[in-house]
């Protein structure tokens, strides 16, 4: 499609602005002014042209309102429409972040109560709502732990233990927090090997980072043993809460020996992904860690008023302001809509849907860790198909032709040709059956007409894109000389 710059014709306007109603001041000195010929290069088009452009672009997206989006570990569930409206109420959206606290009493109370809910759901005492996303939540969590270890006189502890199945953000966060990653092996059941953890945990262990259920969709059954090993070695336990959609009202990380966890509100709590963000990654933690939470935190005064404050021992600040507040509003709305039973209903059906889909696909794909029920997701291997010359990437692309988004592929790294599938609780039996049929049909094509799969996709706005070329002939912006009609 043409770019927005190609719509441009000098003199067109997309807005109507009032005339300047005050006397003009003297101009900015020439040496500080925009360089000559330094137009900003923004397009000139009408409101209708701009709207049509972006609307037409939008139709080239798959999205969860259109069809199933079974991306493992991403929890692509339905996003309630009311919540979009609520976050846009003027009193909530039109307020400056630095107003005196009493002028933002509504937002503050909402945030405080959301913090309480998240503590109840996770079994923790302290919370920070500031982190903008899961990865920033991880950074927050590690910084809490480092601050705590320092206060205990053990600043030398700098090793972060994590299984080889960890999300990429876990090791990247460890580096950002000036720590060293120590890998821990998974055993033949896809679970952390306690003996290897025992070998790796020691006097330099800062924290053991674990996703639970893990990235294979399996609950770490020996969790108590794992967290005890780390505690006994003097380290702390961090839960990556990306998979919390499996545990609402079913189990609490705080009771399993974890000291801190982050939550992805844009996964578990139905706030939209927005094509990649904004998310929100609040961190819940034990009382011992709570005194280090980033600035600011919402507190409740004895007189019942809410206030933003900086804790004396706070490790610092992650964003200019209090967090992705607009996302917090939506997560609060979700919890209030569901209540305790509704939250448990979410996780129960996330588990049922995943196990049902796994059973449906069992005969058609390799399932390397099928030793019992999975939680909210499961990981297949496309090994069998790969041997026929059809790779997992091809299967993923072929699914697009069938009108589904692809699962997460090639992750976790410990599974060959991995296909990580998470249907979520908001998909109906009928939709899951349809997805299973598509997968089974593709498994058949891989044998009978493999070219249909390797040539896929063909029913999409563009065909398979050349990623190698994108890197080799780097084009990251529209060239200036293009798209400017005389």
């Amino acid at each position: 499609m043409k770019t927005v710059f190609e719509l441009s014709s000098p003199g067109r306007m997309g807005v109507s602005l009032p005339e300047l109603d005050v006397p003009a001041a003297s101009e900015i000195p020439a040496e500080l002014s925009r360089e000559s010929g330094g137009e900003t290069g923004l397009p000139e088009a009408t409101e209708g042209q701009i709207l049509r452009h972006y609307l037409n672009l939008s139709t080239m997206n798959h999205h969860v309102d259109k069809g199933m989006y079974p991306l493992g570990s991403c929890t692509m569930k339905y996003n309630p429409k009311l919540h979009e409206d609520l976050a846009r109420i003027r009193g909530l959206s039109g307020i400056h972040p630095l107003v005196p606290d009493k002028l933002a009493a509504g937002s503050l109370e909402l945030m405080y109560r959301l913090g309480e809910f998240l503590c109840e759901i996770t079994g923790f005492k302290g919370v920070s709502l500031q982190p903008a996303a899961g990865a920033q939540g991880e950074f927050c969590g590690i910084m809490l732990i480092k601050s705590y270890l320092e206060s205990r006189g053990e600043p030398h502890r700098n090793e972060v233990l994590m299984p080889d199945s960890a999300h990429g953000t876990n090791p990247a966060t460890s580096t950002l927090a000036d720590c060293v990653v120590v890998g821990v092996k998974s055993n033949e059941y896809g679970l952390v090997d306690p003996e290897d953890l025992m070998r790796k945990a020691g006097p330099n262990t800062a924290v053991f980072m674990l996703t639970n259920p893990n990235t294979l969709g399996l609950f770490e059954s020996r969790i108590e043993e794992l967290t005890s090993i780390v505690h006994e070695a003097g380290g702390l336990n961090y839960m990556d809460g990306a998979n919390m959609n499996a545990l609402l009202g079913i189990a609490k990380p705080g009771e399993m020996g974890f000291d801190v966890c982050h939550l992805n509100l844009h996964k578990t709590f139905a706030t939209p992904h927005g094509g990649g963000g904004p998310g929100s990654g609040p961190v819940a933690c034990t009382e011992e860690l709570a005194r280090f939470v980033p600035d600011p935190v919402v507190i409740r005064e004895d007189d019942g008023n809410y206030r933003l404050c900086r804790k004396q021992d706070s490790f610092g600040r992650l964003l200019a302001f209090q967090g992705n507040t607009g996302v917090l509003y939506k997560a609060y709305a979700y919890i209030r809509t569901l209540g305790a039973e509704g939250l448990r209903e979410v996780s129960e059906n996330a588990l049922i849907n995943a196990n049902y889909l796994k059973a449906k696909l069992r005969d058609y794909f390799d399932n390397p860790f099928d030793n019992g029920p999975c939680m909210h997701e499961f990981v297949l291997s496309g090994d069998r198909q790969a041997k026929q010359g059809v790779k997992t990437l091809d299967i993923a692309k072929r699914l697009l032709d069938y009108g589904f988004h692809a699962p997460t592929v090639y992750f976790p790294l410990i599974v060959h040709e991995a296909l990580m599938i998470e249907p979520t609780e908001t998909e109906s039996l009928e939709d899951i059956d349809a997805f299973a049929e598509a997968m089974i049909s593709i498994a058949g094509e891989a044998i009978e007409k493999p070219y249909l799969v390797t040539d896929a996709p063909v029913n999409t706005p563009v065909l398979r894109l050349d990623e190698v070329k994108a890197v080799k002939d780097l084009c990251l912006v529209e060239p200036v000389d293009k798209g400017e009609d005389p």
């Binding site: 807005v15 999205h63 903008a132 209090q322 697009l400 990251l476």
Partner: protein, 450 residues
């Protein structure tokens, strides 16, 4: 039974049967008995749609700050947002999509962000931009880390006139024993002390970061600083306000290597602090060292133009502990808000927004200076949209009294004096509102001075 879960008992029974278990609890077999919750969560009873709406309206009504005429800035600004922006954001196709990992069904998001990257690069005078960061402050912190990686030096110099919240974020991201952050002080006129900067910049300096305009609204002369840091083989990072850029010399033209900034002003409501968006632009030769997602143009098997996530080997899901950042989810929908806003504004509209903010802020400053006892905190210096004034009364008290008259007067900065206030005027403020500000302030100052 929520309105979001389609499985009813009949479905559950069929599905459990097909799974091969008798009851749901059988699926919890991997969860040790002792960790299975026996009691319901302590969460209030569910609310219906209209009950929840009422609760939110009640919350909103207690946010009385939203009713005030806003002259507060300091990193979050009350600019006009064309209605069409939100209509674009509310397309399910955009907001209910995930990160564009499957490019063939994500061309909408990918092309929109490619256009966003283009606009950010053009505004800042740079050669490329990434797909966005969390906010301006965290983008500034990531830019410092990026400069340290590229130069393999461990010392960063930051202008003392940087937004203190941003400095706090930079200090948090750079909290390591082997990293050093020093501040360059500012002069009586509120701009950077170039003499001291020249002394502080040395061979071990990875980067200098300057805010443009600075926290007090002053327009720094960037080029001398660029020359100083380049002499010592360090990088020049500019934290630029995008709204100022149609009028000001572009950071790229003045010698910046990396430009970051906050995009909230471009079509995003203040929303009590977020979600906002950080942008990051750079010289092309630095692209491969950048954090965050980057969209690139390519072709498909039939030779049609298309867009993909590119240079992914920088990122956490591939490079893991060697990645350029841990960022994964960003603020993509806010990038869409930016690109929709900038498209609607266009070349002339955006310049008009910039220009009106400039002129209106000068009008207010001039009028306030006519009030007896009101003075500048700094010497007269070119400023944009924001300025610091010293009132003859406590600025906190003045703010509180003006709130009673429906005006959010600004942000008191007591570090600069008891009466010091950072005041912002965007294009949205009318002459009437500005005159009312002056009248109210004059009354309070008159009373306070007598």
């Amino acid at each position: 039974m929520s309105r979001f879960v389609p499985n009813r008992r009949v479905h559950r029974e069929k599905m459990l049967q097909d799974i091969g278990v008798e009851k749901f609890e059988d699926l919890l077999e991997p969860v040790p008995e002792k960790f299975r919750l026996k009691e319901k969560l302590q969460i209030p009873e569910p609310l219906s749609e209209f009950e929840l709406t009422r609760e939110f309206e009640e919350f909103a009504s207690r946010n009385t700050g939203a009713e005030l005429v806003c002259f507060m800035g300091a990193g979050s600004y009350d600019h006009f947002i064309p209605a069409a922006v939100d209509h674009i954001l509310l397309r399910s196709e955009f907001y209910t999509a995930y990160t564009p990992y499957q490019a063939e069904v994500s061309q909408g998001t990918l092309q929109a962000i490619f256009e966003y990257q283009t606009m950010i690069a053009r505004l800042t005078g740079m050669e490329m931009a990434n797909a966005c960061m969390y906010d301006g402050a965290s983008a500034a912190a990531e830019a410092c880390l990026m400069a340290m990686r590229i130069t393999r030096k461990q010392r960063v110099l930051v202008a003392g006139s940087l937004n203190p919240r941003w400095l706090d974020v930079i200090r948090t991201y750079l909290k390591r024993d082997d990293f050093e952050i020093n501040e360059i002080p500012f002069l009586e006129d509120g701009t950077l002390d170039l003499e001291i900067a020249a002394e502080l910049i040395e061979g071990g300096t990875a980067a200098v970061l300057v805010q443009y305009p600075n926290y007090f609204g002053f327009i720094e002369d960037l080029q001398p600083i660029a020359e100083l840091i380049h002499e010592h083989k360090g990088l020049f990072i500019v934290a630029a306000d995008p709204v100022a850029l149609p009028l000001l010399r572009s950071p790229g033209d003045a010698g910046a290597d990396i430009v970051v900034g906050e995009g909230q002003s471009l079509g995003i409501p203040m929303s009590y602090g977020g979600p906002y968006i950080g942008f990051m632009a750079a010289r092309m030769k630095l692209a491969r060292r950048m954090p965050g997602r980057i969209i690139g143009r390519t072709t498909d098997r039939a030779g049609q133009i298309g867009y993909v996530l590119t240079l992914q080997t920088r990122e956490q899901h591939i490079r893991r502990d060697k990645a350029t950042s841990n960022i994964c989810s960003n603020q993509a929908l806010m990038a869409l808000a930016n690109v929709a806003y900038l498209s609607l504004m266009g070349e002339r509209g955006f310049r008009e927004i910039s220009s009106q903010s400039y002129h209106k802020s000068h009008y207010l400053e001039e009028k306030l200076l006519e009030i007896p006892g009101v003075s500048r905190v700094f010497e007269k210096t070119p400023f944009f949209r924001e300025f610091v004034i010293s009132f003859p009364v406590s600025s906190i008290e003045l703010r509180d009294r003006m709130i009673e008259d429906g005006i959010l007067a600004g942000l008191p900065i007591v570090e600069l004096g008891e009466g010091a206030m950072l005041i912002t005027v965007t294009e949205k403020r009318t002459r009437d509102e500005i005159d009312r500000y002056v009248m109210t302030a004059a009354e309070i100052c008159g009373g306070g001075a007598s």
